[in-house]
C-alpha cells in the first residue's frame, strides 16, 4: 500500500510523516515520530492506554487512521509538561503513588487532563466516569482518583 504524507501539529510542534491508509495514529506516533508514550494495550479502543487529545478531544489513537490526523492538533503525554515543569497531574500522580507499573499512566493522564480542562471542579463520581475508559490493573484506581482530585485543587490555585 502506498503511503500518504501527513502534516499536523503534535505537542505544539509542526510535524510531518508518511503512513499508509491502514496505519493507526497510535502506530504513526510511536513508529514514525518516536513518541512511545501512548501505548497499545488492546488495539480495539477498549483500554485507553493509547489516549491522546485531538483538537482538544479525548480519543483512542488506535481507532484513528493516521491520515485522519491531517491538519489536526494532537497532544500526547510527552506534551503536557511545560518544559521541565510537570503538569500538576503529573506531579500529584508521583506524590500520590497513582502509578505502579506505569503502562496505563500516559493514557490516564491525558484523560484526566481532558476532564480538568473542561470541568475544573469534578466530583469523585465525575472523575470515575471520565476515567472509565482507561483500564488500570495495578492500582484499583483509588490513588489515581485521589491524585486527580488533588491536581484539580492545585490547578484552581487553592493551597491546602
Amino acid at each position: 500500500m502506498s503511503r500518504t504524507h501527513i502534516t499536523c501539529t503534535v505537542n505544539g510542534d509542526p510535524v510531518d510523516f508518511l503512513a499508509s491508509d491502514d496505519t493507526s495514529l497510535l502506530d504513526a506516533l510511536r513508529d514514525e515520530l518516536g513518541l512511545t508514550g501512548a501505548k497499545e494495550g488492546c488495539g480495539t479502543g477498549d483500554c485507553g492506554a493509547c489516549s491522546v487529545l485531538i483538537d482538544g478531544r479525548l480519543n483512542c489513537s488506535c481507532l484513528v487512521f493516521a491520515p485522519e490526523a491531517e491538519g489536526s492538533d494532537i497532544v500526547t503525554v510527552e506534551g503536557i509538561a511545560d518544559g521541565d515543569r510537570l503538569h500538576p497531574l503529573q506531579q500529584t500522580f508521583l506524590e500520590g503513588a497513582a502509578l505502579q507499573c506505569g503502562i496505563c499512566t500516559p493514557g490516564v493522564l491525558i484523560a484526566a487532563k481532558a476532564l480538568l480542562d473542561e470541568n475544573p471542579d469534578p466530583t469523585e463520581t465525575e472523575i470515575r466516569y471520565a476515567l472509565a475508559g482507561n483500564l488500570c490493573r495495578c492500582t484499583g484506581y483509588d490513588k489515581i482518583i485521589r491524585s486527580v482530585q488533588e491536581a484539580a485543587v492545585r490547578l484552581k490555585g487553592v493551597v491546602r
Binding site: D31, Q100, R137
Partner: protein
C-alpha cells in the same frame, strides 16, 4: 492508616518518597517492551491453531517463505525436541507446537517480515493439515472414565501412575480424624462451589525485541517478571548456552504472575538467527487472552464442622482445578495452605486436571483465591447459623504463632489476629451497615517465598550510592531497595540510585514472584550495605589514624572519640588512597519469608431486578511486617482487591464447544473500571517478620485471596441467597434469586 507493633524508629523506612523511576513514567519516556525499535528490525506474527485439539499432519510454509518482505519462517521443526521428562518440556511445547495443537490459540508457526502487515499476510498462506481430536474443556470431561487424553505426554506428578493421563497433580493433607469430628460436631455445613478461568489482565501485552548476532550471541529486550528466567528458559528451549544470551529487562506493564514464564523469546531468537536481523515480537490483546496463562477454573466441595460455641473442629475439602494443556504443578499448593484456622481435624485434597485450554500460569497467590472463596463462604454460613459475629468467629479460631499450618509445620510469628482486631475496631466495621446494603467479611493469606537474590552497592566518589539488583520492579520495589539502603548507609534516599540491571551486570536473581522482591532482594541489599559499612569503618580508621574497633557508623558518618565525624562523602573522596573502589556484592538464597494475612470487609447492594452488585464501601487490612514504602504497600493491597472484585463479579472465559474463546478482548473480558468502584480503604498492619532485618513480609499476593468470599458473604446477607459459582454476574444472581 497503619497499625504498628513496637518497632524501631526509622529515618527512611516507612516514608513515602516519590519513586526514583516515577518521572520517566509520567512523561512517557519509560521504555516498556514494545517501546524499543532497533535499526533493520523485522516484525513477527504467529499462526495459531483454530482448533481446540488436533494432530498436525503437515505444515506447509513454502508459500509464506516467498511472500514479500518475509525473511524467516519457523515451526516446531526448528526447535530441538526436549525429552518429555525434562522440566522445561511443557514450556517448550507451549511456545511452539510439536505435532499437536493442544488448544485453540496454540502457536503453530511464526513469520518474520519487514512489516507487521507482510508478516500477517504470509501467515495467512501457511497450509496446515489437521486431524481433529476430541476437545476436553471441563473438569468433568477431563475426569470421565473414558476421557480421551488431552496431552499424550502428561504423566501425573507426585503420585504413582500407570502412564499418561489427564491428571496433572494430586495432593492430600490430613491430620486428626475428620469423620469422628464431624460425627461429634453440633453443626456441619457442606457446600459445593465452582469458579471460571480468569486472566491476570495486565494492560501490557507480552513483547520482546531479540537481536542474534553472527557470533550466535543473543541480545534480548523483554518485559518479564524475571529476566534470568527468560535467559534460562530461552536457552533450554533453543538448546543454546545461557552465556550466549543477554537479557535486558524492559519496564514491565503488569505481570501478577502471568509473566513468570515465557512465550515469545525463543521464537524471536530463532527468527533473528535465521534472518540475521533483529526481530520484534509483540502479542496482540487477542493473543494474550487466547494463548497465555489464565488462572485455573475450579470446582470444590467444602465441609466444615463446628461446636455451638463457634469452635471450628473439622474441615474436609476436595478441590479440582483445570490447569490447561500441560502440567501445572506447584500452583496447587496454595489450596493446601488455606487453613488459616486451627482445625484440629483436617483433610484437604486437591487435584489438577488437564484441559484443551491455554497452559495456566500463576495469578497472585496461585490456587488460593479459588479455595478461599469456598472455605470463607462456608465459615460465614456457620457464623450465620450460630448467630455469631463473623470476625468473632474467626478470632476464636485464628491461627497464631506455633499453630500448625495445613502442611504440618508450625506457623512463625504471624499477624492474622492483629488484622481481625484492626478490622473489628475500624471505622468501617463500627459504622452501621447503610440502609438497603449488606456487609461481608472474608480473609486469606499467602505464605510467600524467599529464593535467590543478588545486590551490588557501589559508592560513588561524591558519597552517593548506586544499588544494583536483578528484581524487575512491578510495583515500586526499586524505591524500597533505595529506602532500605538509605536506612543502612545513613544517607538521603535520593542520594541513592536504584537500578534493575541486565543478566550480565548483576548476580543471579530469581523471578519477582511469590511476593519475594522486597523481602529477599531487600535482604541482599541490606547485607551488601552492612558489608560496605564494615569497609567504610576500616577506611575511616586509616584516615583518622585509629583502630577499626574505635570507629562506629552513625547516620552516614564514621565516628571515633576525639575526632571530628567523617561523613560518607569524605571517605569516598579518598577511596583510592585508602584501598580502592568501594563496592560490595551480596547474594543469598533467602529463607524465612513471613506469611502475610489479610481480612477484608465490604458493604454492597444487590439490585434484585437487574442482578447488579454495587460496592459501596471496601476496607482491606493486611499484615506487611514492615511497610518499607507505605504507598506501594497500600497499592498492592488495593490492586489485589480490585482484581479479586473483578474475579468475583464479572470476569470469566467463555468458550464455545470447540474450545474457541468467545470473549478474547477487553470489551467482553471486562475487568473493573474506575466507575465500578469506591475508594479501597486500607489498614496496613505491621507485625514484623523476625527473619528479615526490617521485618518485611511480602504483600503482593495476599490481597487477591479474600475478595470473592467477602463479596459472596455480603450478597448472602443482602439476599438470603448463597452464591457458590463465580463470577457472581447479574444473570447468575438473578437466576439464583429466582430459584426457590
Amino acid at each position: 492508616m497503619t497499625v504498628t507493633e513496637d518497632r524501631p524508629t526509622y529515618k527512611w523506612v516507612g516514608t513515602r518518597p516519590i519513586r526514583h523511576d516515577g518521572y520517566e513514567k509520567v512523561i512517557g519516556k519509560a521504555r516498556f517492551a514494545a517501546d524499543l525499535n532497533l535499526p533493520g528490525q523485522l516484525h513477527a506474527a504467529y499462526l495459531r491453531s483454530p482448533h481446540g485439539h488436533a494432530r498436525i499432519i503437515s505444515i506447509d510454509t513454502s508459500t509464506a517463505a516467498g511472500m514479500p518482505g518475509v525473511k524467516a519462517v519457523v515451526t516446531g521443526a526448528d526447535f530441538p525436541d526436549l525429552d518429555p521428562t525434562d522440566p522445561n518440556f511443557d514450556v517448550s511445547v507451549n511456545v511452539m507446537a510439536r505435532g499437536m495443537a493442544l488448544y485453540n490459540g496454540h502457536a503453530l508457526a511464526a513469520v518474520a517480515a519487514s512489516t507487521r502487515a507482510e508478516a500477517a499476510a504470509a501467515v495467512a498462506t501457511i497450509q496446515v493439515e489437521y486431524e481433529l481430536l476430541p476437545v476436553i474443556l471441563t473438569l468433568d470431561e477431563s475426569m470421565a472414565d473414558d476421557a480421551p487424553l488431552v496431552n499424550e505426554h502428561n504423566i501425573t506428578r507426585f503420585v504413582e501412575s500407570d502412564g499418561p493421563s489427564n491428571l496433572a497433580t494430586a495432593n492430600v493433607l490430613e491430620r486428626g480424624d475428620v469423620d469422628a469430628a464431624f460425627a461429634a460436631a453440633d453443626l456441619v455445613v457442606e457446600r459445593e462451589f465452582d469458579t471460571a478461568f480468569v486472566h491476570q489482565g495486565y494492560i501490557e501485552p507480552h513483547g520482546c525485541v531479540v537481536d542474534v548476532g553472527p557470533n550466535g550471541k543473543a541480545d534480548i529486550w523483554a518485559s518479564s517478571q524475571g529476566h534470568f528466567m527468560v535467559r534460562s528458559l530461552t536457552a533450554a528451549i533453543l538448546g543454546w548456552e545461557p552465556s550466549k544470551i543477554k537479557v535486558t529487562p524492559a519496564e514491565i506493564g503488569g505481570g501478577f504472575g502471568g509473566k513468570t514464564t515465557i512465550y515469545l523469546e525463543p521464537i524471536a531468537a530463532r527468527l533473528s538467527q535465521m534472518s540475521g536481523r533483529p526481530v520484534k515480537l509483540v502479542m496482540t490483546r487477542e493473543e494474550v487472552l487466547r494463548a497465555t496463562g489464565p488462572a485455573p477454573a475450579s470446582q470444590s466441595r467444602v465441609k466444615i464442622g463446628a461446636s455451638n460455641d463457634g469452635e471450628l473442629t473439622a474441615i474436609e475439602c476436595w478441590f479440582g482445578y483445570t490447569v490447561g494443556c500441560t502440567n501445572d504443578l506447584a500452583g496447587l499448593i496454595g489450596a493446601m495452605s488455606v487453613a488459616s484456622y486451627k482445625f484440629p481435624n483436617l483433610k484437604l485434597e486437591a487435584i489438577g486436571m488437564l484441559t484443551n485450554t491455554p497452559k495456566t500460569a500463576a495469578y497472585r497467590a496461585p490456587s488460593a483465591p479459588q479455595a478461599a472463596f469456598a472455605i470463607e463462604s462456608v465459615i460465614d454460613e456457620i457464623a450465620q447459623a450460630l448467630d455469631m459475629d463473623p470476625i468473632d468467629l474467626r478470632l476464636k479460631n485464628a491461627v497464631v504463632e506455633g499453630d500448625p499450618t495445613a502442611m504440618g509445620m508450625p506457623h512463625p510469628r504471624i499477624g492474622f489476629v492483629e488484622c481481625l482486631e484492626a478490622l473489628r475496631d475500624s471505622d468501617h466495621y463500627r459504622s452501621p451497615v447503610p440502609d438497603g446494603a449488606a456487609r461481608g467479611i472474608g480473609s486469606g493469606f499467602w505464605f510467600n517465598i524467599g529464593e535467590q537474590s543478588s545486590a551490588t552497592v557501589n559508592l560513588n566518589e561524591d558519597g552517593t550510592a548506586t544499588v544494583i539488583t536483578g528484581s524487575p520492579d512491578i510495583g515500586g520495589s526499586r524505591t524500597s531497595m533505595a529506602l532500605m539502603a538509605a536506612e543502612e548507609l545513613g544517607i538521603d534516599v535520593y542520594s541513592i540510585t536504584p537500578v534493575v540491571a541486565d543478566t550480565e551486570s548483576v548476580g543471579f536473581t530469581d523471578v519477582t514472584e511469590g511476593s519475594r522482591a522486597t523481602f529477599s532482594t531487600g535482604m541482599a541489599v541490606v547485607n551488601a550495605c552492612r558489608e560496605l559499612i564494615e569497609e567504610l569503618r576500616a577506611r575511616a580508621a586509616k584516615i583518622l589514624g585509629v583502630e577499626q574497633d574505635a570507629v562506629t557508623w552513625v547516620d552516614g558518618t564514621a565516628v571515633a572519640d576525639g575526632h571530628d565525624p567523617l561523613p560518607l562523602a569524605a571517605i569516598t573522596a579518598k577511596a583510592k588512597s585508602t584501598g580502592g573502589p568501594l563496592t560490595v556484592t551480596a547474594s543469598l538464597n533467602a529463607g524465612g519469608a513471613g506469611p502475610s494475612f489479610a481480612v477484608h470487609c465490604c458493604d454492597l447492594t444487590v439490585d434484585e431486578e437487574t442482578g447488579q452488585v454495587t460496592i459501596l464501601r471496601y476496607t482491606a487490612t493486611q499484615d506487611a511486617g514492615t511497610a518499607i514504602h507505605p504507598s506501594y504497600v497500600e497499592g498492592q493491597m488495593q490492586g489485589g482487591t480490585v482484581q479479586g472484585i473483578g474475579w468475583a463479579l464479572n470476569e470469566e472465559y467463555v468458550f464455545d464447544d470447540e474450545g474457541s474463546m468467545e470473549n478474547a478482548s477487553f470489551l467482553d473480558y471486562r475487568i473493573p473500571v474506575a466507575s465500578d468502584l469506591p475508594m479501597i480503604d486500607t489498614i496496613v498492619i505491621e507485625v514484623p517478620n523476625p527473619a528479615h532485618p526490617y521485618g518485611v513480609r511480602g504483600v503482593g499476593e495476599t490481597g487477591i485471596v479474600p475478595p470473592m468470599a467477602t463479596i459472596a458473604n455480603a450478597i448472602a446477607r443482602a439476599t438470603s441467597t448463597r452464591m457458590t459459582s463465580l463470577p457472581m454476574s447479574p444473570p447468575k444472581i438473578l437466576a439464583a434469586l429466582d430459584t426457590p
